[in-house]
Symmetry: C2
DNA sequence: CTTTACGTTGACGTTAATGTCAACATTTGC
DNA sequence: GCAAATGTTGACATTAACGTCAACGTAAAG
């Protein structure tokens, strides 16, 4: 009834609320749950989403925008969920983190290249337009 | 028989050469052609790829790495192919360029956020590991 | 001349990520 | 109390992006 933001750590969300807020269908949310990406609680049959679920959903959607598959997103989400099983495990996790960072950095290089291409194109187009207008 | 690089603007490539160089299957290359993303010439039945085709393939693969669909990549490729049909068209194209830049910049924000998350996670893990080792 | 390598076009199969629809339960406003 | 809104679980349909396979052509190599 108040703000749709996680002002309160004990807020809950219905499936409709979340699907509206992030513009995904309820079907998709259930699908993500099916794939083990979110784990909302149940009040009877009905799904109850916590701010934590909401946060995970944000990560899922970010992953999607970046072109990761749901499987990949699942792995990424695993990196976000803390599990401290001794130094060995933590070292292993650290490696995964660093690999993920490398992946993302490579992706950023692609983006930067694409942006540069487009910006060059803009400059070229602008000068062309200017010339044509001057010649007019 | 020489370098696989476009040293010469009149070089040509077989479908196998390209598929090997970029580690995609020939099936995929034919598929992209089917979808209108590349237009290699034909020597009889056989496809002959030019450096220009190769360049387009690079763009296609970059688009894929960035999570764009083939349809979106098609539109992006259109932006790359010069067509000067008067100032009006050029203005329209300019708008598309700028929109694409905005899209890419938004994507870069996602990436930067993800990288930051992972780096923070690294720092946290490192300190944890240090503590556990010191306590040992 | 026949094998070997590479090319071609269908046609059908597959996987991911949903959409769609039916059939049903539950809660809520009037 | 009853209709409307919202929720649920299947089950099947769909789209994208290829993979796989069959059946065939061609060209160089031994």
């Amino acid at each position: 009834m108040e703000t749709p933001h996680p002002k309160d750590l004990h807020r809950t969300y219905s499936i409709r609320q979340l699907s509206k807020e992030f513009d995904v269908t309820a079907r998709a949310l259930r699908f993500y749950e099916d794939k083990g990406l979110i784990h909302p609680e149940r009040k009877g049959q009905t799904r109850i989403y916590s701010p934590r679920d909401r946060a995970r959903l944000q990560l899922i959607l970010r992953g999607k925008r970046l072109g990761f598959s749901l499987v990949e997103i699942h792995e990424i989400l695993d990196l976000y969920t803390p599990k401290d099983h001794g130094v060995a495990q933590m070292r292993a996790t650290l490696v995964k983190y660093r690999n993920q960072i490398e992946t993302l950095k490579r992706q950023r290089e692609d983006i930067d290249a694409a942006i540069k291409d487009m910006q060059d194109g803009c400059v070229w187009l602008e000068t062309q337009i200017d010339e044509l207008e001057a010649a007019q």
